[in-house]
């Protein structure tokens, strides 16, 4: 009788240890996960983006002149709204890419406006290629053809937007340079929607 109870149910002490390990694991898990997500959130603010002066003196300054910074209704698009995906998997991938940007920051590769300008075409093309590949996913988090009232748009806009989807075009095909100055090498004549040369890698 007593033998049987020995084998079937574990000792109260062993059970307590198991519980302890389990709850400690859960607790540490929560802490890490929370800390991780807090770090993710903290690095996903405009304040963080412009805490490095490369961003502050160049692209941020230009962005403050645009409609995504200040407009009639006061709804704003911040750096991460356009540059960091919303869903978890794509967000992690983007954050890992960003570690490479930190490397260049500490090496001082773009630490003067001149150095930044020299790299701008390459940086801009990275963004254009990504947005082309994702069908301008980040723009579409806020803007949506379905919700556009074409009667309220300018005729140039409504015509282009109605044609766009049939022609397989996406926002970035027609809206480069909406938030920052365009690179010196960018030539609008060679960027006709659908015939742009700026998605292929230059040397």
């Amino acid at each position: 009788m007593s033998d049987q109870s020995k084998t079937s149910a574990p000792k109260p002490r062993a059970r307590r240890v198991t519980w302890l390990i389990l709850s400690a694991g859960i607790l540490i898990g929560i802490l890490f996960w929370g800390g991780f997500n807090t770090a993710m959130e903290a690095t996903n603010t405009e304040q963080f983006c412009i805490s490095c002066h490369e961003m502050k003196v160049n692209v941020y300054q230009e962005y403050t002149d645009t409609i995504h910074y200040t407009n009639r209704t006061g709804v704003r698009a911040t750096c991460p709204d356009c540059h960091v995906p919303k869903d978890w998997v794509h967000k992690i991938v983007r954050k890992i890419q960003a570690s490479n940007e930190l490397y260049h920051h500490f090496k001082g590769d773009v630490d003067t406006p001149e150095k930044f300008e020299a790299q701008r075409i390459r940086l801009a093309q990275n963004v254009w290629r990504t947005m082309k590949a994702t069908d301008s996913r980040e723009c579409r988090n806020c803007h949506d053809f379905e919700s556009m009232n074409y009667n309220k748009q300018e005729s140039r806009s409504s015509q282009s937007h109605q044609d766009a989807e049939d022609a397989g075009l996406t926002c970035i095909d027609c809206h480069k340079g909406i938030a920052h100055q365009l690179p010196m090498e960018y030539d609008p004549e060679q960027d006709a929607p659908g015939q742009s040369i700026f998605y292929s890698v230059r040397d």
Binding site: E154, S155, L182, P188, E189, Q190, D191, A192, P193
Partner: protein
């Protein structure tokens, strides 16, 4: 001696005059200094007019029938050419820049936009739909 004193006086008078008519003191017909950027008239949004504006006379630079605040014309590039250049106008469904824009002042045809036509807004202006302050008696054609 006399002459240099006269020159000096003249110079003094000129600087006095210049500061007297400095731009801040010049008020426009709207009753504000022309340099006053808080003037609501200066900040009126430009209008979009499908089909464009009628011309007042032949060879008039047509007025711009759409807002242009999004397009820069600077050292880097001319944003208007995204839609109005011979290479892009068909796709953008926009009128091509006038043929005259490809001739230099000696009448020689260039294979690119003439530099003297680079700053489009020198001749073409967007419109705000403001109420005119003085009656326009120009007959047109």
């Amino acid at each position: 001696m006399n002459r240099s004193v006269a020159a000096m006086l003249l110079g003094l008078a000129a600087t006095g005059l210049a500061s007297a008519i400095a731009a801040e003191d010049v008020t426009s017909l709207r009753g504000r200094a022309v340099t006053d950027e808080s003037d609501p008239a200066v900040n009126k949004p430009t209008v979009a007019v499908p089909g464009g504006f009628a011309l007042g006379w032949e060879k008039q630079p047509p007025m711009i029938p759409h807002p242009i605040d999004k397009y820069s014309i600077d050292l880097r590039q001319n944003g208007c050419l995204k839609c109005h250049s011979p290479a892009t106008f068909e796709i953008a469904k926009a009128p091509k820049v006038g043929d005259s824009h490809f001739f230099d002042r000696d009448g020689v045809k260039l294979d690119h936009l003439a530099p003297r036509r680079y700053f489009c807004t020198q001749c073409h202006a967007p419109q705000t739909g403001a109420i005119p302050l003085v009656e326009n008696v120009f007959e047109g054609r």
